[in-house]
Every structure is written in C-alpha cells, then in structure tokens.
Subunit: 140 residues, 3 copies
C-alpha cells in the first residue's frame, strides 16, 4: 500500500496534488484509515491550504517571502543561491509530512481543503512524494 | 476505529481537546498504536502546547498576532474580513494534523503537553475533527 | 512495535537521531509502513532538515532566534527565563511529531534529509522520544 509519485515543478509555486493522492487511495481498496504523504526533499514541502481562491496561495507566498527573505545576509549557507536557505526554512515551517484520514474509500478532506506540493526553489525540480496507506480494506 | 467530533468555538481562542480524544481511545480498546487527529478546515488548527499555565497560550496568540497581523495590507484575499488570510497562514504554521502515540490504552503525552484546537477566526464556528486510531487492541 | 528513546541534550542545539530511529526499524522487522516519532515535551521539537552542511542548521537557528527572540518583553510567561516562551513557540513552529515512510525495512528519507531533535532551552535536558511503527513485516 505504498507508492512513489514524481512531480515536475516549474520553480517556486504551489501545485494541487489532491487528485493524484485520491486516485491511489481509490485503487488501493482502503476504505477506512490514514493516508501518509511524505516529500523526500528539504526545499519543497507539503501543505493543506484553501483550494477555492488562488489569491490565498499567492498571499501565503507573499507572507513567506517577507518572513524568510531570499538573500537575507544573515544566512551563511548560500551555495545554491539566495533561495537556498529560505527553501529549507519554508519547508520546515510548512512541513514535509502530512497525514489525512481515509473515510469511505477517499481522502476525508474538508470542503475547502486542498493538498499542495509547495516548491520553494526558483529553478524547476523533480520532486518525489511517497504515499503510504494504513487501514482496513473492507468497510466495517 | 474512526470518529468525527464537533466543537463549537466562540471565535479566536484555544480549547483543550485532550480529554475528548482520550475518551475515544479508551472506548476503542486500542492498547498500542497511534491516534491521528485531523481538522477539516483551513482557518482553525491543531496544536500541542504547554497545559499548565494559560499565559503560555496567550503568549502564543500574541506572537501569532504580531507575526501574521490581521488586516495586513499585503494580503489580497480579504473577502471574509481582516482575519481571513491570517486564519489560513496561522493554520499552516501550526498544522491541521497531529499524531500522538497510544500506550497502555491512552494517549502517551508528556506531563505538560495538551492537545488544543486553535480557532483563528474572530467569529464563532463549528469545527469538525476526525480521529482515526491505528494499532493493536490486545496488549502484547 | 513501540519504544521510548532518551536523549541527553547539552542545551540549545540540534542532534541527528536518524540512526537511532533506523536501528529500531531494522530490529523490528517492519518492511513497509510508517515510523511515527513523537517528542513528549513542549520546548524541544522534531525537525527534518538538510544533513550535509551544518551551516544549514546554524542558519535555521539564526532565523528562529530572530523570529522568536529570547526575552521578548511581549511575553508574560517567563517563569523559567528568557528562553521559556521562545522554547514553546519554536516547538510549535517545527512540530512535536513526524512520520516517515518505511520502505524495504528502513526509513525512506531523501538523500539530504536528516531527522533532528531540536533542543530549544538553554540548559541541558533529558528528552523522551516515543517511536511507533505501523505496517507489515513481510515484504509484499
């Protein structure tokens, strides 16, 4: 009940991966349980966010850009550029693992919840997400 | 081993839900495992916090109010008022899912740890929390 | 499939505990699943961070020290000193629980991901970490 999904990102941006995870849950036959989603990187993260108005994600990005500024002279580690350390700190603040309940064979998200892959680096990257399902297959 | 709890909040505040979760764990018969707790919203969150001195939660709120100010003119998305975007960002920073170990049939929290529902909107809301228990029922 | 590990910290610092968790996973025989790691405190936390350059963790600490300053006069709760409330807020921002997939009998972390115990108090402490493994023992 485990798979690895790969996503190409165009650089700093958010991408709704709810459908990709739900497809795997549907194929698995798990009816009740938990879907554990994990990103195998330290400069891209996972985030549950409002999914109706794209301005919400743009405002999250504005807040992040101000709270963890690219090129902050405070940072020593800048080998890969001004977005290197901010990528790590943004990932820690938003988190690299998320678990969502599975109910009646699907992710039990709220109406306005979407599951996003948040790319924090400026350049395009390939990101790996490991999904593990825990639970029971027959409806009890 | 899954249930949905509903909580009425009076607007921005924290509420200790440790007892509610522990009651469900006790009734379930799960002896060893993990309790997964998930809030189905994007402007209320879950938080583990010190549970002895209410000033700690008041100070967390002071920090949040300063780090993510209500009505910040930077925010574009303000359809539901000055606390709309801050509610989303505060929820992302504190998180919408938490998992706690179950040991000997109860949540294995530290002495000073409480599990809180953190309402970030100014107005009263009804919030849904899905609890899923994973583990074994007999003590091994 | 649950154990409690104890770590002595020298005061504010990060410590790589990936090997300790992997040792328990290896001994357990769990081949596929999820390792849930939980710290039973509110002023020390768990964090996945870049593991190749120690400057990254030093920069995370610099950011934290600026974002949540020790001795901030805004804080009311300072019974245990200027690092008391910052310890609680830093722990909430980084998180007290992390889950990592288990694949082929080991933690399925990315190449640059390390699992760290982050001590936020100035003084030395003993910290308890509960590890629970969920999954199947035979390789499917």
């Amino acid at each position: 009940m485990q798979t690895t999904l790969r996503f190409e990102t165009p650089g700093r941006s958010t991408r709704d991966i709810t459908g990709d995870i739900n497809r795997f849950v549907g194929e698995s036959g798990v009816a009740t349980g938990v879907a554990h989603i994990f990103i195998r990187h330290t400069s891209a993260s996972l985030m549950i966010c409002e999914n109706a108005d794209a301005d919400v994600r743009a405002d999250v990005e504005r807040w992040m850009a101000k709270a963890v500024p690219d090129g902050d002279p405070m940072f020593v580690h800048d080998m890969e550029g001004p977005d290197d350390m901010p990528g790590h700190i943004r990932s820690i603040l938003t988190g690299m693992d998320i678990s969502v309940p599975i109910t009646d064979g699907a992710l039990n998200l709220g109406t306005w919840q979407g599951l996003y892959l948040y790319e924090h680096r400026s350049a395009a990257h390939t990101r790996e997400v490991v999904v593990t399902l825990l639970g029971v297959c027959s409806r009890e």
